[in-house]
Subunit: 288 residues, 2 copies
Amino acid sequence: MILSAIQMAMAEDVATNVATAERLVREAANQGAQVVLIPELFEGHYFCKDQTAEDLKRAIPIDGHPTVEHFRSVARELGVVLPISVYERANNALFNTVALIDADGTVMGVYRKSHIPDGPGYTEKYYFSPGDTGFRVWNTKYGTIGVGICWDQWFPEAARAMALQGAEAILYPTAIGTEPPNPKWDSSGHWQRVMQGHAGANLVPVVAANRIGREEGRATEITFYGSSFIADPTGAKVAEANRTEEAVLVAKFDREEMRQMRLSWGLFRDRRPELYRSLTGLDGGACC
Amino acid sequence: MILSAIQMAMAEDVATNVATAERLVREAANQGAQVVLIPELFEGHYFCKDQTAEDLKRAIPIDGHPTVEHFRSVARELGVVLPISVYERANNALFNTVALIDADGTVMGVYRKSHIPDGPGYTEKYYFSPGDTGFRVWNTKYGTIGVGICWDQWFPEAARAMALQGAEAILYPTAIGTEPPNPKWDSSGHWQRVMQGHAGANLVPVVAANRIGREEGRATEITFYGSSFIADPTGAKVAEANRTEEAVLVAKFDREEMRQMRLSWGLFRDRRPELYRSLTGLDGGACC
């Protein structure tokens, strides 16, 4: 299983971004990548910096979505799996969604971002309903993969839910950078360590693809910090991009070896599901 | 809140180990520590290397337990909180237990290790029943703390359950080192990263206290790798011991600042408990 993360800056217009992403996907495929992760909402600038009703018009139904259709062709041609992150309109609801394209160009299904952040510069609750699909995995040509979206990456429950469904790798397309209230504050280390923890706790590789570049909103600007990375099943980083440059990361993993490691380490054998009910809000555990 | 981890080698006899632990607790208290963590089962060698019925006799009821009583006096004298790890006999059941001693010497209650490992060198399922207390936190003189025990440290669910109950710090007494089937295999980085992930995901400090030294069992030997550490609420290590030497780690945290960080970061606001049922085995999520 050869996993790849793409790091790129976004232009204002869709066509430029689709072309850039395609160029980098081709580069990854040339390096042998089988599953290639493009950053979150790569069709344009990260519009959630401000709350603008006009930006709600960016959402498009998945069925026939031009960017998804475009990358179905790319996936089929190159024989790669592509999770494609888009702003989805589903009747009257809008979601932050990934369409999972298998290596033959089939859309295997969608995952809708479950955890929606909200704060200065990242006011996503204005734009997206909390996802209604639950956590999903897909048995692709190259193995079973789970995809979370950005803020999902901070929640151990999401990673665990995917691992329990058989995920052999977990991928997170992302858009994260400076925090407008305090531009000097840098969450990149924190961000990486939490996902490294998911990899180590679930004994699967984790791939995070972030954007780079400075984007100005109406009242708010963000510099996205890149730092895309791939972690091995012990949580160690095996590939990492810097904070400012375009990058294609590629890392190879042995599925059978990882499966054996998961079994021999015994973590999944020794879980105590009956003690975890407080995580679900049942048994009153979520309060106080 | 000033947290401390003690790292030490264990002798065969209880008196020597109690004396060593007390000496290091006093050293920590001299450095201002308010909560001091001694490693797991510090009364003796780690007996779970082999399966020996004789070793079952090490278990003692908590009520009147000599080592617990000893450290109640130490806690009262020094005004420190001490989680004390012992092998507990509870009628016909045996548990791997921590008694939580508050700074006035009161035993606030016990936590019984929930996740029990089993494998060459660490055959704990022979010695301990899976804990029946569930995850617990205690509102001590210096703040609310949660304690997991060794193998518990690999399970994000345990850390989350403590955080949801209000833990402002999570502590893990530990005994971990080489893996007898492959003495060259080193899990120390993996071990640290998973706990750093718990710290970062729950925005609380994590303290891990491990033993050092080589111990021979009947057929099995283990060299414990120390590497005790304290992580801050972003998962960054702020204090760390080496692999071979006795150590007293101390780190100070501002409770109000951490509480504010947890609120402003928004992770606990944005959880989706209704989507986490698969973690509990409900909804059939734990299979396949």
